[in-house]
């Protein structure tokens, strides 16, 4: 059996050998055929009939005791009887178990000599009372949970960085598992104190490691052979990316409207048009420089904020019923037109 365990690429190999093992036990019919062949090959002329005489000496044992499950007290502690994981054994389990496939109308075979019951892993060693006592026994090694970390929010606030790694436990001469070297670091983007530019740059640096739906940045490292090294490496990556995103290179000033990754109302002609329209409606038409346009406070325009949001939304999220409707409402408000009848 140890052959199975040696291989590291366990998942395929194990399942394959599993199948083999089970098949071996259930198709016992193959065996006798093979045996006959062997007998043919090594037939020995038995003149003195020595073999027969030896066989007769086998005397049956008379002192086989009945199953110990018969003698078990009804108030015994099951944990003492079945303290650890092991293969099912009918004489020690005082349960009328049945398992196996049979034609319809028949009862499944009982627990004795039932390979089906022995094949499946059982959890007879982990009954609820046993789990409870084991937890009690392990309490002495546990420290109390910090009181102020009483909610998910508190935990996220005080420990924003999450490190995920796995340990593997298996029966084999070696305790090493290559998968245990993998370390992932997870942090909420909002917890990183980034300004607008840095955030933009940070997202560009980490690429697909940012998940928009959850707002989490996940950095995984598996290039180093040891877990400690990978752990140090993910920390290094986060730190490096963070500070790099604050650096402003010379060429970053050359960013044009075409390079923008999103629609910014304040930098587009829509704003100018809005201001122009506003001034026109107040009969104060004048030509303004870029500077003046930029410094103009659009909050003095009624409903300008709503309009701005609606335009940004329709440009950034694309046209949909929702965005179009909000744009419709914003424009009507801005122009002082009556709202659409709610009937449609």
């Amino acid at each position: 059996m140890s052959v199975f365990i040696k291989h590291y690429k366990a998942s395929h190999l194990l399942s394959a050998s599993n199948v083999k093992f089970f098949r071996f036990s259930s198709t016992a019919a193959d065996l006798p055929l093979k045996k006959e062949d062997d007998d043919e090959e090594f037939r020995v002329l038995d003149i003195v009939k020595k073999r027969q005489r030896q066989q007769r000496r086998l005397n049956k044992r008379t002192d086989i005791q009945p199953d110990r499950s018969d003698r078990m007290a009804i108030d015994q502690k099951w944990g003492n009887v079945w303290p650890g994981p092991k293969t099912f054994h009918p004489s020690s389990v005082p349960l009328p178990l049945r398992q196996g496939y049979v034609p319809k109308g028949q009862a499944p075979p009982g627990k004795k000599a039932n390979a089906e019951l022995m094949k499946i892993p059982n959890f007879l060693h982990l009954t609820p009372p046993v789990v409870k006592t084991q937890c009690e026994a392990l309490k002495q090694f546990c420290t109390p949970w910090p009181e102020l970390l009483n909610s998910e929010e508190a935990i996220e606030k005080h420990y924003p960085v999450e490190i995920i790694s796995s340990n593997y436990c298996h029966a084999s001469p070696s305790i090493r598992n290559p998968l245990s070297r993998v370390v992932s670091l997870r942090v909420k983007l909002s917890d990183l104190k980034l300004d607008k530019h840095a955030r933009d740059k940070f997202l560009r640096i980490i690429g697909d490691r940012y998940d928009e739906t959850t707002g989490l940045v996940t950095i995984t490292a598996d290039r180093c052979p040891a877990k400690k090294q990978n752990y140090d490496y993910v920390n290094y990556l986060l730190t490096a990316c963070y500070f790099e995103s604050f650096n402003v290179e010379d060429w970053e000033g050359e960013k044009t409207e075409d390079d923008m990754e999103y629609y910014d109302f304040d930098r587009n002609t829509s704003r100018k048009n809005l201001i122009n329209w506003y001034l026109k409606s107040k009969n104060e038409v004048k030509s303004m420089s870029e500077e003046e346009y930029r410094d103009f406070d659009i909050s003095q325009i009624d409903h300008a904020e709503v309009y701005k949001n609606a335009v940004s939304k329709i440009m950034n999220d694309g046209e949909s019923d929702d965005t179009l409707r909000s744009y419709d409402e914003a424009v009507r408000k801005l122009l002082g037109l009556p709202q659409k009848a709610a009937s449609s």
């Binding site: 420990y159 960085v161 593997y168 436990c169 001469p173």
Partner: protein
């Protein structure tokens, strides 16, 4: 360890999500103090590598239905007798030994990898990671091995005496090994007296090793390598002196040990406490007589004081060991108490060994009752844990239980002691299989004799057979208790236990069991009665061999023990208590009666039983068995035989078998029993269906005229009557033919 079927298990995966918070900017570092801010985790609770396993193991209690976990949990493989327990455990260990032998002798199979051709090269390769030294092949040293000082260091550290001797020779003896290593080697030799020690690896062998009491004789190897090495060390350090003195004292070379100690002191060397302890434990070998020895002991202690050596627990143990070895008496007991008190004053608690020697000294088998055990127990119970310091510590519990059983005969004390043994991890102090067995022998004996019946049975249920298999003497004690308690069902079950434990061939025990069964048979339920009968029948058939077995046995010529007459009588009595005529137990009765007649040893002490059985069987229409029974009654008492035969005759007559009845009465008459007169009269009455007076009348009339009118059996009865009264047989010839005709179908030929 004892290979369960190992299914290829999926890698059980414990993904643990850990929140490391170190080294990331802007986060709080865990402080090494208590979590005062309520945010940082409290300091980690330090634990050893096996602490969690031990805590989990402590949640598992004993399971009385299961065998020790070293055996396979399967009805076919759970050993139930002492022999099998030993055989199974040692077999498993022999397998491990064989595996270890292969591993050591073919180490290259385990730590070399052979590459595929064409290169065929070999490189070192270890399968295990991290490498476990205990499973790695051990080096083997031969006369050709190339060794270095490191090898010697290795063999010394692992206390491989034989190997270290070999390496020492290979290194070139005294010249090759110098300085510190030579002293270490000397220490090893002195500790083990140049003999290979029992390996710690073979647990079962140590557990089942027959405990031969250590001989208190000088076994020190005089003029051996240890002494040569000691002589070669110049200048002699106190370490060397300590080693050689302790070695000599341990192996009872007392005088030389003391001489060397004197020599060392004169040289101004400081000897350790352990050296003085070993000197104290063999101080009795120097002098004769209690007073002289006491003087010597006190002188050694005074010397310790003079040199400023502080005593320890071992000193007390050594003193008491010496004192207890010098016999008994008030003076020595007084001395022991003084020692104990004085050591307590300087704050040294006596260990288990010290208490063991105290018990040896005070609780002599035929001495007056001294209850020091209760004080000792009170002291031990107050301690947190009991740790074994010396090998003799394992003697305490067995001796204490012996004292409870034989000396104090106190079940309460025994229970207290047993609770102490079961507390925590104390069970390891029970010693080995031999000591454990003696411990339970004492415990069960005292429980059988002193404890209330329910408690005893409860105890037996938990101990037998998985923890302890009673020896024959203890089993007899148990049977006695069960008999007194009137536990018929348990007695019936006791037979199957006897078979399982391998005591079924012990005739004395079986007979005792049968006797017990008989004596409490009367007042049992019908169900229990049936069980008892079945057990009795089984006892009878147990010893019977098949023809093949008899053929085998002929070669071995072992004398077959046979049940005594009394036992067979008991079986007959038990088995005959059935109402159904077709019950198979009649076979057993018949068989027992046959054996009783043919081969049984001794005489049944209670023939009335047999006679009543004979009557009963006759009344039920089993004339063959009845006749057999009444016949074997003869063995015990001819009078009873006559009584029973008369009764049987009466009963058979009533059942309509006049032939047998007549033959029986005739037999009585012929043998001159006076019962023949009354028997013939009454049988005749039954046979002819007449009243007593009519029969008397019939008997009084002279025969001749009656000859034709009567049934032939009645005629025989008449003859018998006359034979019995007058001693003369009237007309024998006339009767012969008729009687033999009528009897031909019956089994009266048994007569």
């Amino acid at each position: 360890m004892y290979s369960n079927v190992l299914l290829p298990r999926q890698w059980s995966r414990f993904a643990c999500i850990c929140r490391y918070s170190t080294a990331v900017e802007g986060q709080k570092l865990p402080q090494n103090s208590a979590s005062s801010d309520g945010i940082s985790p409290p300091p980690r609770i330090r634990r050893g590598p096996t602490d969690i396993l031990e805590a989990l193991a402590a949640t598992v209690g004993p399971d009385p239905t299961a065998a020790h976990y070293k055996y396979h949990d399967d009805p076919y493989l759970i050993p139930l007798s002492n022999f099998r327990k030993r055989a199974y455990a040692l077999s498993a260990e022999a397998g491990r030994r064989a595996a270890v032998w292969i591993r050591d002798n073919h180490a290259e199979l385990f730590n070399m990898r052979e590459w595929d051709p064409p290169a065929k090269m070999k490189t070192p390769h270890y399968n295990a990671d991290p490498r476990i030294d205990a499973y790695a092949p051990k080096p083997i040293y031969t006369s050709e091995s190339k060794v270095t000082e490191e090898d010697l260091q290795y063999t010394i550290n692992n206390s491989l005496v034989e190997d270290s001797l070999q390496v020492f020779q290979l290194l070139g003896g005294m010249e090759g090994v110098g300085g510190d290593l030579r002293v270490k080697f000397l220490q090893l030799l002195c500790f083990y007296n140049e003999k290979e020690a029992d390996s710690m690896e073979w647990m079962e062998e140590r557990w089942f090793a027959s405990n031969i009491k250590e001989r208190q004789a000088a076994t020190w190897r005089t003029g051996g390598l240890a002494e040569k090495i000691f002589a070669s060390i110049e200048p002699k350090t106190s370490e060397a002196y300590c080693a050689i003195i302790q070695g000599m004292a341990k192996y009872y070379q007392a005088e030389r040990a003391h001489m060397l100690a004197q020599e060392a002191i004169e040289k101004g060397l400081v000897l350790s406490t352990d050296v003085y302890n070993s000197l104290l434990s063999c101080v009795g070998f120097l002098k004769e007589g209690t007073t002289m020895r006491t003087e010597a002991l006190k002188a050694t202690l005074a010397e310790m004081h003079k040199h400023g050596i502080s005593p320890n627990q071992g000193t007390l143990t050594a003193c008491l060991r010496s004192v207890s070895a010098w016999g008994g008496g008030r003076a020595l007991q007084q001395l022991a108490l003084q020692l104990l008190a004085e050591f307590k004053q300087i704050g040294i608690q006596p260990g288990l060994s010290a208490y063991y020697y105290m018990l040896c000294l005070f609780c002599k088998e035929r001495g007056p009752k001294v209850d020091i055990l209760s004080t000792i127990l009170a002291d031990l119970e107050s301690r947190e844990t009991l740790t074994a310091v010396e090998p003799t510590d394992t003697n305490f519990f067995i001796t204490a239980m012996g004292v409870c059983s034989d000396h104090l005969q106190d079940i309460n004390m025994a229970e207290r002691l047993h609770t102490l043994l079961m507390k925590g991890d104390n069970y390891k102090l029970v010693g080995d299989a031999y000591k454990e067995s003696i411990y339970y022998r004492h415990y069960v004996t005292v429980a059988c004799r002193q404890a209330p019946f329910e408690k005893t049975t409860e105890l037996l249920d938990t101990l037998v057979p998985n923890v302890y298999v009673p020896e024959p003497t203890v089993f007899e004690e148990i049977i006695k208790t069960l008999e007194l308690g009137g536990a018929g069902a348990r007695l019936a079950a006791a037979w199957s236990q006897l078979v399982i434990f391998g005591h079924a061939k012990r005739v004395r025990l079986v007979e005792r069991l049968l006797q017990a069964m008989c004596s409490c048979y009367q007042y049992q339920d019908d169900e229990v009665k049936a069980k008892t009968r079945a057990a009795a029948a089984d006892i009878l058939s147990f010893g019977q061999l098949t023809d093949e077995e008899i053929a085998q046995k002929r070669d071995q010529r072992t004398p077959q023990a046979q049940l005594s007459a009394q036992a067979l009588t008991n079986i007959i009595q038990l088995c005959s208590d059935v109402t159904d005529k077709a019950d198979p137990h009649w076979e057993a009765v018949s068989e027992a009666a046959q054996r009783l007649r043919k081969e049984a040893v001794g005489v049944p002490t209670d023939p009335s039983v047999l006679s009543s059985v004979a009557q009963a069987t006759a009344a039920k229409g089993k004339p063959g068995i009845a006749a057999l029974c009444s016949d074997v009654t003869d063995k015990a008492d001819p009078h009873w035989e006559a009584v029973s035969e008369a009764a049987v005759a009466q009963a058979t007559a009533a059942k309509g078998k006049p032939g047998i009845a007549a033959a029986l009465v005739m037999y009585l008459a012929e043998n001159g029993f006076e019962e023949a007169t009354t028997a013939s009269a009454s049988v005749l009455g039954t046979l002819l269906n007449r009243t007593e007076s009519e029969v008397q009348q019939l008997l009084a009339t002279p025969r001749g005229g009656l000859e034709e009118s009567l049934h032939p059996s009645a005629a025989v009865l008449l003859d018998a009557y006359h034979l019995a009264t007058t001693g003369v047989e009237p007309s024998r010839n006339a009767r012969d033919s008729s009687s033999s005709d009528s009897d031909s179908d019956s089994s009266s030929d048994d007569e």
